[in-house]
Amino acid sequence: MAKKKVFAISNALSNGIEETIQAAHDYSGELRVEVVPLKRIEVDPENPRDLALTFEDANHGISPTDPQYARKEQEIESLQSIANSIKDQGIINPIVVYKFGEKYRLVAGERRTLASIIAGKTDIQAKILDSKPNDLKIRLLQWIENVERSDLSLWERLNNLEKIVSAYFEKNNLSKKSISVTELSNLIGCTKPHAANYKAVLDADPGLKQYISTNQIRSLEKAALIATIQTSDLKEHALNECLAGANLKRLKAIAAQKPNKIAQIKKSVESRGRQTTSVNLGITKNVGVAQLVLDSILKNNALSPIAIHFKQVDWNDYRAINNTFKQLVKKLEELHT
């Protein structure tokens, strides 16, 4: 008798659990909010400011002899509505500061801080970092704050992640263009399988990314699976099934198919039926591919006379794209009679 498996936590779930616990340990306290006296907050002299108004001005009023008097007056004016809402209900979004001796230096939230002073408050809610954060750290904080938000799409998460990765390269003076799975898992505090999924999707071709950007693919696991299929036939097949709503299990089954099997089936279908006398230029759901084909053709100098007809294509509209290609074939046929 086959040994019955009574209990199994699925891989995805057990990875998820491990990753959750790991992240809890790694980032404990990183988003903590404390109440900080306003008089201990200062701007970071190394950071550019867009306001002329100083904390001093907000506290004691603008000196009439101040050369920037008019501008500062206007700035106070523009902060008044935030100040009123702070008076009523405090700040909703805490500011971000880092410890600097006895003081706290601002990372984010200058306007909220000034408005709180104007509102007559003595303290403010702040996320406190232990030291001045670099760009990478700031992005990582945004990541851990946002990653759990269910309203963030896969595309938005990927965009955040791309920024994190480039900040990481910059910080470490790395010139390479691709991050390793281990680096990525360390960076964002997740398990390697999860990081591998992110990496696969980060490295995916523009066609696949297009579907993610339009929210036609929302699942990281599915996107990663499709991205890693090597055979283009199978990949296309999996992509189409995914767009039609196939679940992960089904996609895995497709990915596991032997590539030549599909090719064989196709062949046997093609060899039946009547004799073929025309060429089908193929079908794709991938707008990126269509775009690539058109661009490549138009790069051909010999075809410059027809290029003018294809300057403005609405790449969001499949019907318009189809018409464009019909027209393209027609023009090409005209040139090649």
Partner: protein
Amino acid sequence: MTKIVVNATHKGGEGKTTNSIILAEYIALVLGLKTLIIDMDPQANFSGRYIKMEYDPSYKGGKIPALHPDYEPLVDKDWDGRSSIANIFYGEEVVPYPTSITNLDLLPAHSIKLQEAEAVTKNEVVEKVHLQLKRFLELEDVQNTYDMVIIDTPPSKGPLTIAAIKAASHIVIPAQMEQFSIEGIYGMLQLWKQETYCRTPNNPITLVGILPNQVRDIKLHKQFLSGLRQGKGLGDYVMPHVIKKRAIYTEILVEDANPKSIFELPANNVARNEYETACRYIMEKVNHGEEKGVRN
């Protein structure tokens, strides 16, 4: 600081209410600590153990707490005589109910009011609900009156459960050793993780662990448990003691049960012993292992 233990999992029927009851009674009866219990579940099962819950005339199937024993209709003109934890979401005063157990006070549920709080979706309102229980428990009055607070939550991951976790110093996740429980465990781990991000070092949130409940001597349960214990990272958070499935844990909840609490059973009673061991473990975590005098 008053320590606050929350029993939570969004999977239903795992033992949140049972564990809230027994842990609270252990703390009040055995440890002799002044304890406040809070029922955040609109089902109001926890409340029903300690005070009479009445059917809500304005809401079919809903429950409201009976009149407070201290209520005097002739004097208390600004109060309708009922008080529930839901009041904190409406800016109203709360008045804990005494229970028949020494040292144990209750803030009961109020079905419709809690459901309304659970159903809020507007961002600003959600945030208010999330923080309201924490603010309430931080009040000096509450801190000075109670040593411990035990909170029972609804089977959800919604605003009421989040509010409880935001207020908590410790979390216990009761779980049956069956496939679907894992979802509840995972959901709670995520809430715990998100909350650890926001805590300061002097106000941490501690995951006491998963309490295996209703365990039977069958292969299914044993394998599930050992699967949990071997889970990477997870093993540390599976409590070393388990609660078996025993009729007495249900029987003792009926109104005319005698004795009324398992801590009134003889000290060598198997069920009492088993649960007392688990409670002791939870309290060790709560006290960071430091010895706390038993005032009994």
